[in-house]
Amino acid sequence: MKARVIVTLKDGILDPQGKAIEGALKSLGIDGIDSVRQGKIFEMELATADRTAAAGMLRGACEKLLANQVIENFQVELL
C-alpha cells in the first residue's frame, strides 16, 4: 500500500520560505496567488494492507519523528 504524510507549519508560525516564494512569484509576474505556505510531504511504500493498522502506525511515526508538534501539524493519507 502507498501512503503519504503531509507536515505543515501551524497557523501563526512564521514561514519565511513561503513568504520568499510569494515574493518571487509576484516578481515573476505570476499573479493571483495570495499566500503560500511551504510544507513537507513523505511518500511511502507500506508493507501492510491493513488500513487501520497502517493509519495508526503512521500517526505514531509522525508523533515520534516526522512532525515537530511544537510548530507543525500533520496529516496522514492512505492511497
Binding site: 512564521l14 519565511p16 515537530n68
Partner: protein
C-alpha cells in the same frame, strides 16, 4: 572536569570541541557514540557538538534527538548534570525537549558564517562565571537554521526567568537590528534550562580559544564550566 562529547553520524565540530576542552582544562573528553545507552561514570559535562547529525535531513537535530544515547543525556540533565549544546547540539536539545522552542531557518534563508558579537546576559551560571555581566564577546557563527522561536508564553517565561544566556549584538553591545544574523526572537543566541545547568547556543565558542585564530573570547565558557565542576 570529566566531559563527554556525544558523537552522531554527521557531527563535524566534535574535533573543535575536543580541542577546546583539552586546551582549557588539560583533560581529554571522552567520546560517546550515538548508539550507547550510558554515559561514562563520573561525567560532569555532556557536550552535544556542532555539525549536521544525520545530514540534518528531515529537520535539524530531529533524528539525533531520538538516538538511543539521548535518554542517558536526559537522565544526566534530570540529575542536575551539566549539558552544553552548540549549534547542531542546540538544535538537538530543542528537538529532544531538553530546552523549549525551535530553531527555524535563518530569516534570509541563507547559511551564515562570520564573526559575531554577543552580549553575556548574566554571569552567575555554571557556564558564564568567567565573563562579566553585559560583556560583549566575539565568537564564530556558522548555521543555516539558528532563528530561535517559541510561543509568546515561552518567550515571556524565558525572559521573566532571565534564562536568555547570550544575545546577538554589535561590537558596542547594541542588541538586535542588523547585528541579528538570523532573525532570532529578541536576538536570542542561547538559552538556559530552568536550573541553569543546561545551555544551548548557536554560536561556536569552541572556535575562539586561540589568539591566532580569531581570538580567545570563547575560552571563558569552558573555563567557567571547569571552575564550576571543580568547586562542586
Amino acid at each position: 572536569m570529566n566531559a563527554a562529547i556525544i558523537l552522531f553520524p554527521g557531527s563535524n565540530r566534535e574535533r573543535d570541541a575536543i580541542r577546546a576542552i583539552e586546551k582549557v582544562t588539560g583533560k581529554k573528553p571522552s567520546l560517546v557514540w550515538h548508539g550507547e545507552t550510558a554515559l561514562p561514570a563520573g561525567t560532569d559535562l555532556v557536550l552535544l557538538p556542532g555539525g549536521f547529525s544525520y545530514g540534518d535531513y528531515l529537520r535539524c537535530g530531529a533524528i539525533a534527538a531520538r538516538a538511543p544515547v539521548m535518554d542517558a543525556v536526559r537522565a544526566h540533565a534530570a540529575r542536575g548534570g551539566l549539558v552544553l549544546g552548540i549549534c547542531n547540539g542546540f538544535q538537538i536539545m530543542v528537538e529532544a525537549g531538553l530546552l523549549p522552542g525551535v530553531l527555524m531557518r535563518n530569516a534570509n534563508l541563507r547559511f551564515v558564517c562570520r564573526m559575531q558579537h554577543l552580549t553575556v546576559e548574566r554571569n552567575d551560571t555554571p557556564f558564564t562565571s568567567h565573563y562579566a555581566k553585559g560583556q560583549v564577546i566575539k565568537v564564530a557563527i556558522a548555521h543555516g537554521e539558528g532563528n530561535y522561536e517559541a510561543d509568546a508564553e515561552t518567550i515571556r517565561r524565558l525572559e521573566g526567568d532571565s534564562r536568555v544566556a547570550f544575545r546577538y549584538s554589535n561590537a558596542r553591545g547594541v542588541i538586535g537590528g542588523g547585528a541579528n544574523p538570523n532573525g532570532s526572537t529578541n536576538a536570542i543566541a542561547g538559552i538556559y534550562s530552568e536550573n541553569f545547568r543546561v545551555l544551548g547556543l548557536m554560536p561556536h565558542p569552541e572556535n575562539l580559544i586561540d589568539p591566532l585564530v580569531g581570538g580567545i573570547d570563547g575560552r571563558g565558557l569552558f573555563e567557567g564550566v571547569a571552575g564550576f565542576t571543580r568547586a562542586a
